[in-house]
């Protein structure tokens, strides 16, 4: 792992400066079923291809952002601030 990542705040930096936060997941509603909860807690897509994931610029501005990375080639397709989730289930309406 030695690629470059574009922090929306600081620009392109060595991946060593970042902390990986895993796949972007949609948090189930408080009254979700046990199955949905289990899927959220332990199920991962582990995509072979583009994947949305959390990154934190740990040794920089310490901000969290979302990167779309192709896990097959390690190419970072885009980075952006976290999607607006102030509206409940904004992510689903976003088609994610």
């Amino acid at each position: 792992m030695a690629f470059l990542l574009n922090c929306p705040n600081c620009g392109q930096r060595n991946v060593y400066d970042f902390r990986f936060g895993g796949e972007v997941l949609t948090r189930p509603a408080p009254d979700a079923s046990n199955e949905d909860l289990t899927a959220y807690l332990y199920g991962r897509e582990n995509a072979d291809g583009p994947q949305r994931e959390w990154w934190n610029h740990n040794l920089g501005c310490r901000k969290w952002f979302v990167a779309v990375r192709d896990t097959h080639t390690n190419e970072v397709i885009e980075t952006s601030w976290a999607p607006d989730i102030s509206v409940p289930n904004a992510e689903e309406s976003d088609g994610q």
Partner: protein, 972 residues
Amino acid sequence: MASNGTGERLSPGKHELIDREVVVDFEFEGKLITAHQGDTVGSALTAVGIDLLSRSFKYHRRRGLLCVAGNCPNCLMTVDGVPNVRTCTMPVTGGMTVRRQNAWPSVDHDFGSILDRMDRLLPVGFYYKVFHKPKILWGIMRPIIRRIAGLGRVDTSSDGGPAYTHRNVHTDVGVVGGGPAGMMAALEAAATGLDVTLIDDQPLLGGQLLLDATRHTDPAIDDMQDGTGQEIAEVLRQRVAQQPGITVLNGATAFGFYQDNLVSIHHGNEAIEVRAGRVVIATGAIEIPMQFENNDRPGVMLASGALRLANLYGVTPGKRAVVITADDSGYSTALALLDTGITVAAVIDMRPEPGTSELAESVRSRGVEVLVGHRVVSASGTKRVSGVRVIGPDSSERNIRCDLVCMAGVWNPSTGLLLQQSDTAVEYDEQLRESVPVELPEGVYVAGAITGIHDLKITLAQGKAAGRQAAGFDYEDASLLRAGERDYRARMRAPGSSSGSQTVLSNPVKTAKKEFICFCEDVSSKDVEVAVSEGFGDIQTLKRYTTATMGPCQGKMCHSSFIESAALQTGKTIAAIGRTTARPPAQGVPLGALAGPGHMPRKRTALDDVHRRLGAEMVEVGPWLRAHNYGSPQDEVVTVRNRVGIIDVSTLGKLDVRGPDAGALLDKVYTHRFSNLREGRIRYGLLVGENGSIMDDGTVTRLADDHYFVTTTTGNIDAIEDWFNWWLAGTGMEVFVTNVSSAFAAINVAGPRARETLVKLTDVDLSTDALGYMRSTRGMVAGVPCIFLRIGFVGETGWELHFPTEYAEHMWNALMEVGAEFGIAPFGLEAQRVLRLEKGHIIVSQDTDAASDPLDAGMRWAVRFDKPDFIGRGGLVANRSRPSEEKLVGFVMHDRFVPEDGQPIVKNGVPIGRVTSSRLSPTLDKGFGLAWVPEKLAREGAEIFIRSGKTDSPAIVTLKPVYDPDGLKLRE
């Protein structure tokens, strides 16, 4: 010890690296060796007549200098305690100590060399075949084999060896390889105004040109009409030195090439990571050994190695040479050797016809026999080569006497670094008879001998083109360059073509047990034949079975011979055989260089000096150093229980959480509710993960309507800060989370006389009516603004004071001074652990683990299920609906016996739980602690048994703290 001078040297050469005016002494196995400044260990030893440098891996055969370029395994020695140093490129420094390795009792008289005659016992893959029956034999043989094989030994008594450092370099264009192509590329790229880093593994830029004494006309460099290769190198080197923007790293080995053009470099005691915008790979080609029996005898060298010794160090590689060649370079080698005064007995040209007949003629005219279409079958001699057996085209055989064999003109393009990139491909080129790059990733360019073309003019043009392209421009003369390359390839097709590699297998029909392909691992052509006949026909399995290409040279010396040999044995073409996978490192790197200096930060509180002056014993707690005790933890416990104690708790994580949505954020991440916390109140805060397991704990204080002060455990602060910010991301909540851990120092003042002490320094009303338990206020103490937290981790009346760090020592001294009359004393971490344990307070990750939830840990009271949502609610709700497996409880022994942390609770000899913390209780004068037990035993008075060694000791479960069970003291 006596020095015998720097040995016999050739007359000074124009391009040598040594300074004959300066001598340097070093120690070699107890003897003092004198070298010249600029010598390598290998050149200095050869100069004084030491040609046996190592013993081989498996058969313990004698090995001497081969490549003199830091590629092969033959000169690995232990230098200043560091094993496996390539001494042929290691510069001599005064006072260094050098010894040879992998032999007993000595390299000169190695008992292990008997293995060379026991090869029948050690067939290829013997590790899987012999010494396995009877079974007990393997147990005896394995340690012996491991001791006999292998390389140098790590000195375990060493205090850590050299201090390695790490450095990051950012550059526009990285150029790997400092030969003509690399220098040209660097010059072109830098001329456009870019920043260029030129990386070369040799002490001097020039690459193969350093050894090239032949004349080149019109090299197309400035206004240069003609010059020898060495002169051209000199001109290029000067231009590189004068060109602004080029940083040169000499003696720097690029061993890793990673994504987004990161080049990892080993440079002396430094590891450098060069992040380049674009990269030019001009790593050239490596001359490799030919195949004949005993091709590993000391005195059998690569032509380039012999010339390097003679030209760069003035050391004679031998007295009477035989040159074997696969291209014209053998003739230039012969001429260069003759010029230094070495006798050349014969040039053996493996091609059916000589290439450039003028070259052959000029060698002949100097009295050297030229044998065209001949091959060498074997070398003779025991300690050193004494002759070669030659077979002619008519199968006639003869011996030629010599003490030096130079193998010239078989080249292996150095693609080991390039191939570490994905989107890269190398293919065997039938015309060039070399495996050359055919596919390159974006932003990576190649130039020079790595392309399989050995022609200076083309190499220089390729360098120019690569430099231009790496700088982001087109190369104007691209079509001319392509035409030149086409023309070169056309020449290659001609019979008896003038240059280019030939097959390395001098005798393709017959294999031999001691005809070595892989010098690192002692793998011979016979071994490949046997392995293929056993079914290991695929190159990947053949590699793993024979271990060929897997030694220190990482295939540099053997990869093409190995593939060619495999092709021969399987009847496939070289292209069909394919290649083994290139992985980092391209060359062995000391682990110390990879590890670098310790990166563990060592944090000290503002009171560190104070603790040391008081004679505290310090312990590591995460990154922090904390005072464990000041002499007697027992006395410190008594101080707090009976009088007043102070402890430095500055290491606590502290977060300032501020904004209109601060309460909402805390409600979201904590199990408790904080939006309804009144100003000036404190509440215990428990953080759990989404699955409900305990992550961290601390206190949350509401300082103002939109302002909270949060403490976390010492080691978790960074993770908790990230955790808060993660749950904020994208929510649009208006909150600032600021880590103020080092901005605030903190001292806890606790004990029955704490109030009397503190009132002397403050006007704040400390009475329970004004500032009760779990209340907070702000005010001045000893003239310093403080946040007062009335909490009770240790179980006594006490105040945690948080204040600006710069006043820490002043505050500490003021408290000690006014508390003197009440018997104040500092207490350390150990006393605090005993005190808190008597109160049954948990320490997260000491008493809990990744599977512990608040329900089982007895902290149901800290979880507000009536909140519609919080992080971990779903997990806790699910856990609540399942029967609990175990609970965290207190226990008390019947006597002063103290079990160890982690000892099992047993029932009928079967573990059913475990102790997490235990100490001697000063209150009870009995052993006690916390333990996880099955739920049915989690009741007051239940009997449990704790196993220590072979003894099971009884203990009684208690659900209440052993000290002040109702918490009355805290509230006084």
